[in-house]
Symmetry: C2
Subunit: 871 residues, 2 copies
């Protein structure tokens, strides 16, 4: 028979999966000799067996519970249903991960019409005894029978109003007796059942109810939001009651060993005299700050401080401790690592390390990389957000907060900005033509698209806050208005965007800015010390590069040259090039683009200096550069001096049914080599310029979308020819390398062949994921949300690497590539390059670096450190 019940004395802190966090920590505290009320824990396994197989309490389980109960009775000297010393217990849920308030608790179990009298007699406190009983009736009714709490509360309120009481404390024993009577009637009325008088019946019913509460709606939602698996189950803790509500020498409270808001080292908490646990949480009475306890009950206070210190040292982390004082005797009911703000987390980890409690590595493991977002992006203060009017909720695509006037297109955006206004670009979805408008906006809001839609990717790349998929907004770009559930927003109206939480507010909300603290900087330097993987940035604009280096990027993992072609005169020249009828007509735009690109790369190299930099040659399908719609075609035709008819046909001929799978990347390089030649010329000429000034730039030129070896062979030969000719002309030494992006499944299988040509690999996990799943990033939004809701996908694979599929392809590629070149430098430059859980996998794979958007650089730096520690 499986052991389903553990005495507290049989467990320890390591047993969280089986005993839940609460049960394991109670056991640990018993081991430490702390004053913990006697009890036992029913395992999470028992819960899952109940939920998935039995759906009732088996005789075996019942007998194990009763054995544990006997033990409790004999050592406490109290007994269930005893007329002299009745045993009362609490029944509490507690799963592996803390899910505060999500599951159910019942206090004072064991009371009935008989034992309530015994308790009154024993404590000489009738009021207290009936207060316990009415609480049990209320909690048991809600939890076991699902009676609405309203029904009990209404009557309680009625009694208080009738007697003009300000608080529950004023209720008399008589009042409470009456209340108990009425509460029992509520049972009969609501569920046609009597309140069960047998304590054992109460106990079994309570255990079942707690088991079932694992699957209640709010618990399910919480788990989905926090990525907690559904098959963990909850443990049930049965513990002897101690009574904070047994008089003025009793009380109950919660305290943190350090400030959860700032991390400062002082006890932070509150308590209530003459109250039971839930009264503090419920907020009916205002609790008092913990330090006032020093005066009221100095002995208990002193003991608590000692215990708090001991627990923090024992767990090597800031603790959140629940305690109860019964007649001046202190009991600890729970301890756990306390939730805290990002700022507090960093301060606490830093302090604990400085205090010598934990090592540098432990300090780093204390932190969640994603928290850094909160530290670095400006935010709306909670107060402000609470009272503001929400317009929409969407996906939090790019963190931060911003306010500005609504605009609907790039032209208006620029016009407003030129007039000194701040703007937020709102569109159904964005396209490359909007990039210029996006770059001048404070935030982007779209009604369509997902976390990796164009708007989301570009916004994150630019470090602009962004909310996408605001499905309830009807954006009428033509009418220049937005219809939302509560009204209409016109162009020029102010809105505020919270990109970290995916909320759009009406009006201009106030913001708080954040600065990198010295604590933060120190911790990040520890991270760099322990890391194996380097962290690079995906960036091409001077602004992004500067930001990323300030954030500690160790190089550039991806410079997307196409982003440089999307604005102003560059776009015109690019269009002229694409639309040219023959190579003679191509010459002029190529020459102009060459000049522009030389300027671009010179600017970039001036920032990156001698840092590693991967430059990807042109990647997107040609038609991305083309005009859409009749009006734009008309204008462009005029500009390029072409007939509209010709232009329309040419644009049409460049259109593709599935551009993502079309004529792009190295395929363009092969069929249309002039562009790559021009780009490499620009890279090499710019680099030569810096080398002459004594700065040894070493560009890593990357050929995208390779699927067959010969693509790489042909293009490498071509590009080397171009590059070496210039280097010879310039008569200098320039170290450049040519590598390839691994983003086509087939490339993974032929990685050995590619490694014969490539001097480095960089995984383009975005495309690789698209092709491995057959999901278009532009379109997957239509079903990926449903998929996540229905749990077909554990996470969005564009956000978190899919280890089973994409990961396996990567493993094959790394193995085969390194078979040919054992020292082959391999990085990742897709979205997941900045995702901590993906980074752990990249560490296992033995990659050399990850690369991500500027604002994710610090997150990745912490994540690579953690990955190195856990390896």
């Amino acid at each position: 028979m499986k052991k389903n019940v553990y005495q507290f004395s049989e467990g320890n802190a390591e047993m969280k999966p089986l005993l839940g966090g609460k049960g394991a920590n109670l056991a640990e505290m018993v081991k430490l000799g702390l004053p913990v009320p006697e009890g036992f824990t029913i395992t999470t396994e028992a819960c899952m067996t109940y939920l998935t197989q039995d759906h009732y309490l088996t005789e075996d389980l019942k007998s194990q519970i009763l054995t544990a109960l006997k033990h409790m009775e004999s050592s406490s000297g109290k007994k269930f249903d005893d007329t002299e010393k009745p045993l009362l217990v609490s029944v509490r849920s507690g799963s592996m991960y803390s899910m505060p308030g999500m599951m159910d608790t019942i206090l004072n179990l064991g009371l009935n019409d008989k034992t309530v009298e015994s308790l009154a007699e024993q404590t000489q406190n009738e009021r207290f005894a009936y207060d316990c009983y009415r609480r049990l009736l209320q909690m048991f009714g809600e939890v076991v029978f699902g009676i609405e709490s309203q029904r009990f509360e209404q009557y309680l309120t009625h009694v208080k109003e009738k007697n003009n009481y300000a608080s529950d404390n004023e209720l008399t024993a008589e009042d409470l007796k009456e209340i108990v009577k009425v509460f029992k009637e509520i049972y009969l009325e609501s569920v046609k059942k009597e309140f069960p008088q047998g304590p054992i019946d109460q106990l079994f019913m309570a255990v079942e109810a707690v088991f079932r509460s694992w699957n209640n709606h709010r618990a399910q939602v919480y788990r989905r939001l926090h990525g907690i698996a559904d098959d963990l189950g909850t443990a049930v803790n049965i513990q002897t009651m101690v009574f904070g509500n047994s008089g003025q020498k009793s009380g109950t409270g919660v305290a943190f060993t350090r400030s959860p808001a700032t991390g400062d080292k002082h006890i932070f908490g509150e308590y209530l005299i003459n109250a039971q646990g839930e009264d503090v949480v419920a907020g009916i009475r205002t609790p008092e700050p913990i330090d006032t306890l020093a005066e009221k009950m100095p002995k208990a206070y002193e003991e608590f401080i000692k215990i708090a210190d001991l627990l923090e040292n024992h767990y090597q982390d800031m603790q959140d401790i629940e305690f109860t004082i019964e007649e001046e005797r202190l009991f600890v009911l729970q301890t756990r690592s306390g939730k805290r703000t990002a700022a507090a987390a960093f301060k606490i980890a830093y302090d604990l390390k400085e205090e010598g409690v934990i090592s540098k590595e432990q300090a780093l493991m204390h932190l969640k990389p994603e928290m850094i977002d909160q530290l670095l992006h400006p935010v709306f203060s909670k107060e402000v957000a609470k009272t503001a009017q929400e317009v929409a909720r969407g996906l939090p695509a790019s963190p931060g907060a911003a306010t500005g006037r609504v605009v609907f297109d790039a032209g208006q955006a620029k016009k407003y900005v030129e007039d000194g206004e701040e703007v937020i670009l709102v569109r159904r979805e964005t396209s490359p033509e909007d990039v210029e408008g996006m770059s001048v906006s404070n935030a982007i809001v779209t009604s369509c698209g997902g976390m990796t839609s164009h708007a989301a990717v570009v916004a994150r790349g630019m470090g602009i806050c962004c909310v996408v998929a605001c499905a309830n907004l009807t954006i009428n770009e033509a009418a220049r208005s937005i219809i939302f559930d509560g009204g209409v927003i016109e162009e020029g109206d102010f809105i505020s965007v919270d990109g970290s939480n995916g909320i759009v507010f009406l009006g201009k909300l106030e913001m708080e800015k954040t600065e990198e603290s010295s604590v933060f900087k120190t911790i990040m330097s520890w991270a760099d010390e322990v890391a194996d993987l380097n962290v690079r940035v995906n960036a091409e604009t001077p602004k992004d590069l500067t930001t990323a280096f300030a954030f500690g990027a160790q190089g550039v993992g991806l410079t997307r040259t196409e982003h440089m072609f999307f604005e102003g005169k560059r776009l015109t020249e690019m269009r002229r090039l694409i639309l040219a009828g023959d190579s003679a007509q191509r010459k002029a735009p190529l020459k102009k683009l060459l000049e522009i690109q030389i300027e671009d790369f010179t600017n970039i190299f001036n920032i990156t200096q001698e840092k590693a930099i991967v430059i990807r040659l042109l990647d997107p399908p040609l038609h991305e550069f083309l005009p859409h719609g009749a009006e734009e075609i008309r204008q462009l035709a005029k500009e390029l001096e072409l007939t509209e008819d010709y232009l329309e046909k040419r644009v049409h001929s460049l259109m593709e049914t599935n551009p993502m799978l079309g004529h792009r990347g190295c395929r363009l390089g092969v069929t249309f080599p002039e562009i790559y030649e021009m780009q490499v010329e620009a890279i090499i000429r710019s680099a030569c310029g810096l080398v002459k000034k004594g700065i040894n730039v070493a560009p890593e030129i990357m050929i995208p979308l390779v699927g067959v070896k010969k693509e790489l062979t042909i293009l490498k030969e071509l590009l080397i020819q171009v590059a070496d000719k210039i280097i010879a002309e310039e008569n200098i030494t320039l170290d450049y390398t040519i590598g390839t992006m691994i983003e086509i499944p087939r490339a993974c299988f032929i990685a050995d062949q590619l490694a014969e040509e490539a001097e480095f690999f960089s995984f383009g996990t975005n495309d690789l994921t698209q092709l491995t799943y057959g999901y278009s990033r532009d379109d997957a939004g239509k079903f990926i949300t449903t998929y996540q809701q229905k749990k077909l996908l554990p996470a969005d694979p564009f956000q978190k690497l899919d280890v089973e599929g994409v990961g396996e392809l990567m493993r094959i590629a790394v193995e085969r590539g390194r078979q040919v070149k054992p020292d082959l430098k391999i990085g990742v430059c897709g979205e997941v390059g900045g995702d901590p859980s993906s980074i752990a996998f990249f560490q296992q794979l033995g990659l050399n670096y990850v690369s991500c958007s500027p604002y994710r650089v610090p997150i990745a730096r912490l994540a690579v450190a953690q990955a190195a520690i856990m390896k």
Copy 2:
């Protein structure tokens, strides 16, 4: 030192890779004791070393050649440059695979101003000697120095005209001496060099020229067309000359041991008296049929017949033999397997088996599966095609020949057909809306798209001939005309389409029909006997199913249910369904579609009876069913009683950027389960209908596009529920299975998980290839042709399975799937299912069946037999 030169007596027929076909067969004939003129072969390896490394004849190679030459001199008793018995040799190319006429040959090498006199004296035939010399000058000039043949021919013609000669035979010795003089002047004039008088110089120069001829343009083109690798190289055969031009008792000829046109068993060939080899080919004189030789030179004829029999028996195949008779002495100069028509190939293989020369398996291996196309599709006779006016050449997408009137859309197509006319649908490209029009057309022609474009796939599926990618056609669908290089074609004009060769002709060409012969049927029955893999068909229309079963399909590997929704009232209901705003509005169209589908499946099952049949649930993106363009939207809005505005918005909201990677297949099944429920209901109800009549239909229901296990789990559960409810209602036994299509790379990696749910797998190699390469079938035409030309791809991976990438994914899927279910039934239903070279790989993988379009079924039947034999 490497052995680069082999005496004929040192080789044999197995050494083709090293000695080339001609060299190896000459060696084999020497071994057989046949009268072969003395000689030796320089290896293909020597050629490749010359071409890729040395670019000159090394001293080592020269010395090996000279040693072989010495041997030849001593055993023939003739010597180079000898004044009494001058040795003359032929220098001929000969690669591993026959490339007739593609590379160069020089005869009579060794002649010069001195030896020509000796030859005249020795043979007492001055005319003969100078005829040989002028031939050498001409061939050597062309081959070694690249002098245009025109220059020599012009003068020859001039002499003949001056003297009123009808043929070369009338040239006198004096004429020929003058010709030789003038030919030598041509050398000086053209290349400023004398004709080299030294026979050794001649020989070395000739060998180099033959080596180089491996890379001449026409040889390269031939290799590309016939899939011959570029790194094989050609051998060079040096052989003592025998003279068919040494008088009236001499001659030269070519003969087949059986008819290459029909396969009938009789010697088939022709010869010329007093001529050298190239005269027969050149067609200047009309050769005489071989049987007349029996009278003219009975001894030589008899000997030849004996040798022909011997060679055919020895090689166990019909032979193509070159011979020369010198003064009534017969010499065999070459033998090889003769090229033949498809009909002849089948007849010969059948006869050889029946004659006991070869086994059943050998007979099957004699045949090229692709040949069957020629046997089964009607064709234009060669005579007709030669004189017809070509309008365009494109890709031969679907074989066969057809004529008809040009139409530009489905509506016109139907109108013409209703009037009793035959039509050919001509479009820029086709879309699902054209399917009805395609089905009534005799042929399809498009100006865009590739071998797997919509037009190509559907046409092959329907067995309709089709030419795609006719780039030179400007199809103006609005103006209803086609502009081609030679003029304009209007709607209603006749054109003729040769789908086997990818040619479009003007006018209505006459056709020849083909019937399955009894020989063909017998051979196919042999194929079925030896095969391991079954052959199924991809089909859903009664016509296609009937055709396929007549062609021997053993089941249905893919029934595409979406094809059933594209016509007439079905499309309207499907549109009503998709455009419905809520589930209430969906009910009516679902009910109608259910009725239609029950009818569909009943019709199908009535044909397939108890044969295995895989039915794929709806696969394409929803918007494929939607109207395109304002006019169609207007009509549909009227039909469905919706506002145009609403309809346009709804259509727009269903549009996807990359539909191939979008909301389709099982993703629709998950988010929109009503359609799959309806389809399964229809399948099961129809099947029940047949079961009640005693026909045990056993549908295999296939869920497409699965990438994560839970898609399959959820849908399987749902569909089983629907199916089992109906089966219980009907109170019968029905064996149905539920399986999945493996077409997403990720599915291959999780095949073990999928095998836990799936009762069968079917590889969708089209999608799998798309995703493995990242090539959209709709768009890849833009670069795939360039890729094949530049040899980046050995073949179109949609036509021939890519073993390195797609194949490796398939191997992973088979291994993992069978790990869980050792007997898992696995098939292939993509385009490559009918491709012989891909089938060889599927045999290795251990698949259970392949499935292909109806007209490829016999090809696949032969290919699976060959794969089983070669395993």
